[in-house]
Symmetry: none
Subunit: 206 residues, 4 copies
DNA sequence: AATGAATGAGGTTTCATTCAT
DNA sequence: CATGAATGAAACCTCATTCAT
């Protein structure tokens, strides 16, 4: 009995949390990260300002929670791919498809990704920004595997990982400017081709 | 006489403007675009707050002017390359070298580049952000030239231009995390290789 | 039957009230009157916030009730002394002992006493603060008795009553800074000596 | 020239600071420490809220500055007495006179004194409250001198110092309840008599 | 042209109190 | 009777901008 009640309450709590996070995502989608104020979040969520502070200790924590919670599914999916038994180039391919389709379905989250990335550059808070750095690291590992197994050329894997990730983001950004986004398949294939084979027709360039 | 006086005044004006812009760049370098206040700019420039508003109509205009003025040299250099008579792949190469060396010498400006880029994504202000879009356009033209002359494969040139630009930025970001930045030559060559030839060793992948 | 039920209910009510008041006292002891919030009271009492408002109309009423209820035993004891048949100086002595030992056993309440006293000074709420004023009045009466019976010198009894009371409080404050408080006897005797005989050795001072 | 200008500016600064502090004192006098909000201070001072923060970093600093600045004259005068060449009992007497006349002229500050005192009791912030503790210490020294020179009885000088100080405050509080305060001379003499000779007529009490 | 105190709108956060369950 | 999420008034503080000197 008591357990049931507690369970229901927890559910309610989760619903409101989600609603608030949803409001944040909507606002960011419409107006960018910069202009998100607690007033606006409250209005968007149809709640009072004070209520936000019941569910989140501060604005910072709220924004952080949005990123953490909303990127988790994507993170998990990518992790699954990375942990899987595909070949390195299959892994790279899968990641591109996965990422594109995720942001097709979660357009609002893309802004946060850019945010993440910018902060990633800061000398000071570099430490904390583990999500982005972590991802770079993991991609680099895949590249290293590929190099070891003779699939990829020798190269500084971390730098190429960065290139790869930013290339994906660039493509996603372009996709989201189109309404609706163009065929996922085409864009994914384009990116993969460029990444694996480059843009040059003849390969005696250098 | 009067002309001379006017001339001198204009010179003074220019000096103060530069000093203020310099202050902004220093601050952004240290703390990021987000946290720059007019108070801080005034303090950094050794001027009063009111004085800033004599030389710039608003904070927004000031920041805009910093971007416009400080990126102009780079823009001009890139333009020169683009207008020149090099082959498309030589142009791409030159641009990479030029960009890397520019930010090696103007570290503080990199933050602004990231800023630019983020705004670029915004649906609302897309119109105004001509600088970034313009650059994409011009790179796309080069790629089209390359495709026409049989150097590059057929592809959506705008999308690849985006990929290229973001790849450069990614590399620059990594370079600036190192202190001092690694050898320019090496990084440039890496990026160019990846761009032109891809990362795969065997090209029968797809 | 119905009576019994009502009786039991009243008992429950009393228990909860006490628990809430207890929580307030604990909090005030730890952090001072200023920072007590209804949230904290609820948490400390192991109850919900809403529940507090079933038992007390408002925060103000709650705090007031704590003072009223918790100081009542002391008030009664002092009253008993005052109404008793001791000589005026014995009464004064007894009061000192009583007060010291009360706060030794109820350290948490001392903060409230200070609170009371401060409010006592306020021109606006002077009316309401009958507890403190009442006490001054009663002590003054004892002094007047002492004067009438030739035990004490002629003096403005109300002013001296104030002096006496504040001197007791000062001593209590000092006692509570020590952990554990020094010997009650010693401190009480010191205060009484100063009060009755003054600090001077020779009495031809003035 | 420039010096003159700077001088004038500093003067202006001082005037505004004083005005703000004055506003605080007025508010505290009228409504107590509790209800002082920055809004009210601004209104009372006839300034905007933002302006307060030009002159004081925070509310806490403002209140602290009021205490520090406004009690300094009194502190200096008492210090002068304490450092002087009077006998211990003359020092005690002078202090009483000085304190009474100070608060007769600065009624508004008395509330702050009570504030100080309350905080003084807190176990946690005891360290910081140097003003009150310091005063106790200095009075204790005078008492020790008096004991050494055979003027005063042997006693715990710190405890008696506390008693003495609180007795003075009690008397001041009573004085300020009267409008206008009764004759200073009379009250001072009363306190001194009680302190030096006690209230008892016959001294064979204990 | 330069100053910097002053402004005021707007931001984040707190907390006593209410009310549907 | 008990709960605790929700409310909303108000508190503290920031900062782009103005203006008298």
């Amino acid at each position: 009995m008591s357990k049931l009640k507690t369970e229901r309450k927890r559910l309610f709590e989760q619903i409101t949390r989600k609603a608030i996070q949803e409001a944040v995502v909507n606002l960011v989608t419409r107006t960018g990260t910069r202009k998100v104020t607690m007033d606006q979040v409250a209005a968007e969520a149809g709640l009072s300002k004070g209520c936000l502070y019941i569910h989140f200790r501060s604005k910072k924590e709220l924004l952080e929670s949005v990123k953490t919670d909303r990127f988790k599914p994507l993170g998990d999916q990518l992790q699954e791919i990375l942990n899987g038994s595909l070949t390195p180039n299959q892994k790279i391919e899968s990641i591109v498809y996965r990422l594109f389709s995720y942001f097709d379905e979660n357009r609002g989250l893309f802004r946060f990704l850019l945010e993440e990335r910018e902060i990633a550059q800061s000398q000071v808070i570099r430490q904390k920004n583990s999500r982005y750095r972590n991802f770079v690291e993991r991609i680099a590992n895949v590249l290293d595997d590929g190099i070891a197994s003779g699939l990829f050329r020798h190269m500084d894997s971390k730098k190429v990982a960065s290139i790869f990730i930013e290339a994906m983001i660039a493509m996603t950004a372009r996709r989201l400017l189109e309404e609706p986004p163009g065929p996922l398949d085409e864009d994914a294939r384009l990116l993969i081709q460029v990444l694996f084979r480059g843009i040059a027709l003849m390969h005696d360039l250098q």
